[in-house]
Amino acid sequence: MSEVGSTIESAVAGSVVGEIAHAGELTIEVARDSLLEVARFLKGPPLSYVLLSDVSCADIPEHPERFRVAYHLFSLETGTRLRLRVWAGREPQVESVTSVWATANWHEREVYDMFGIRFRNHPDLARILMPLDWEGHPLRRDYPLGGEEVQFTDAV
């Protein structure tokens, strides 16, 4: 396990479920219940990942826990990045990290809008990109692409 991974594991016991080092990037998979604690630990010293760059999600229907939320963190002093991964489950629910990084507010709203993942304790979880009464969550794999049928081509 890498240094970062073992630091997290020693601070929040039982949180680190897996670790991947690929393409020059470090990804740490965290248990869903310990996400908020890990987030609080990562923001403060010694690791000081003060900037949450991005919260995004991937829909992987082959996996039993279908939705995978990724948090991209950046540390200003070292200039390094870290990715936290959390599986959200078939009825997706994840704890919101808005209390740790305020920027997560709109990111999580977008993930909710596009994938349907409810973030617990989010101050304002409403649709952000689609109209307010839109039914369905567009970026899920089972949601159709939509649009018009085009003549003479089967390329989408």
Partner: protein
């Protein structure tokens, strides 16, 4: 607030949408939905009557007036809607409503090959189109383990810095226009036309080009390009002096931008703000220096910082950034290495057209790449570039097929817009226009 509508109040479309959605899911309205429903549910006469009634019942209290700015508005930099709660001219609260330009690009990228997705990705933040492709191709190259040759990196740097200059020129022109300095727009667009001519020379199109490929650039510099580019950067410093002469010591400009929209640096970082808005507050975060990519470590340039973080500092930071970009382009032209403009891996990169008539293998590679596309091994990558607005990142999830599983852009405008609400609380409505301009958001990036 419950989901019941009061008696006799006509409910307009968006209010009805919010209430229906809430009723369907059996929950209360969230803050934003309440603001939108409130803004839409009353006609102006009813709003006035409500305010008067409230003032009579509890004298001395003033209910805020809810005014809708946008989405069609000359000063909102695109289709941004702001539901403002006003107390006279002072803003009590502000709710940005976005999504009026949502194009479903991320979903459509999942149906295209990695190559075809470049044309979609470039149209997200349409003023910084090269940066979009840069972040995307960097992610794909990371996943493939593909080395980009030095010449291609320098070419990318040149086009990116040129794009930074053109983006700042648009920002300067439109910001000036909104605050009444109309001449600035005509001056800056004159230079932008020359820069777009250069872009057209090398990439074929003025905007939304598809110049960067996975592995390098689509083509090398055509003859005459370098000379013309040197002419452009030779005259740019004088032109930037012209813009500064119009604005920097202009007392009206200073009055309208000094002290407007300042937030403390740690609050900005917490909100995720990056780019000139953060550097104006004194935080030295520029991805070209902190986490260099694509050969930026070879160039000698400074990162301009501000002091207060107000709109005036953001203006000076961006002006100085334009000057630094000119310097970087000059250094890149001087130190341009020899070599190929694109990587050599035939499984990913198209072979040069001359080979197609002589080599059977080249023909097969070409056919396979154009019809099926190249496959990317399973994995995920996130690459970020320093776009004119901040950190522009692209998160690509690959699953071994020729089409990406997920493409997500971390757009700086989307994140920076969150800072508008804390900035605008307690400010005048006229200052709100200055603030939106100083944040420099592009709605294509916000809504994707």
């Amino acid at each position: 607030m419950s989901t019941d509508i009061g008696e006799g109040i006509p409910v307009a479309d968006e209010a009805r949408e919010a209430l229906e959605a809430a009723r369907r899911e059996g929950r209360e309205l969230t803050e934003t939905e309440r603001a939108i429903a409130g803004a839409e549910a009353l006609t102006p006469q009813e709003a006035l009557a409500t305010i008067e009634a409230a003032t009579e019942q509890t004298p001395g209290s003033r209910q805020p007036m809810i005014i809708n700015l946008g989405p069609q508005h000359p000063s909102t930099h695109g289709v941004l809607r702001l539901v403002t709660e006003l107390d006279g001219e002072v803003i009590r609260d502000l709710h940005p409503v976005i999504g009026y330009l949502h194009t479903g690009i991320e979903k459509q990228c999942e149906n295209k090959t990695y190559w075809q997705a470049i044309t979609l990705v470039t149209r997200m933040d349409y003023l910084a189109s090269y940066f979009n492709i840069h972040a995307y191709t960097m992610s794909v190259e990371k996943l493939l383990g593909l080395e980009v040759p030095d010449r291609a990196q320098y070419l990318r740097v040149i086009m990116c810095e040129l794009n930074r200059i053109t983006s700042h020129l648009v920002w300067l022109g439109t910001s000036g226009l909104e605050l009444g300095a109309m001449s600035v727009m005509f001056y800056t667009y004159r230079e932008r036309e020359k820069a777009l001519d250069l872009g057209e020379m090398i990439a074929g199109e003025r905007m939304n080009t598809r110049f960067f490929q996975v592995g390098g650039c689509a083509d090398d510099m055509p003859p005459g390009f370098e000379q013309r580019l040197r002419g452009f950067i030779g005259e740019m410093p004088d032109r930037i002096d012209e813009y500064e002469g119009l604005l920097t010591e202009n007392p009206i400009w200073i009055d309208r931008t000094r002290g407007v929209g300042a937030l403390p640096a740690d609050r900005l970082l917490d909100l995720g703000v990056t780019g000139p808005a953060l550097r104006a507050a004194g935080v030295d975060l520029d991805l070209r220096k902190t986490a260099p990519y694509s050969g930026y470590e070879h160039f000698d340039f400074q990162v301009p910082l501000g002091v207060n973080g107000d709109a005036y500092d953001r203006y000076t930071v961006r002006i100085r950034e334009m000057r630094e970009s000119v310097r970087i382009i000059g250094q890149a032209l001087d130190g341009m290495p020899e070599g190929s403009h694109i990587a050599d891996d035939r499984k990913v990169v198209l072979p040069p057209r001359g080979e197609l008539s002589t080599s059977m293998e080249a023909l097969i590679h070409h056919f396979k790449l154009v019809t099926e596309g190249f496959t990317v091994p399973e994995g995920e990558a996130y690459s970020a570039v320093e776009s004119p607005r901040g950190e522009l990142g692209c998160y690509v999830v690959a699953d071994g097929s020729p089409k990406p599983r997920r493409v997500h852009m971390r757009d700086p405008s989307f994140v920076n817009l969150q800072a508008l609400r804390p900035m605008a609380k307690g400010a005048y409505l006229a200052d709100l226009i200055t603030m939106i301009g100083s944040l420099d958001n592009v709605m294509g990036g916000v809504d994707r």
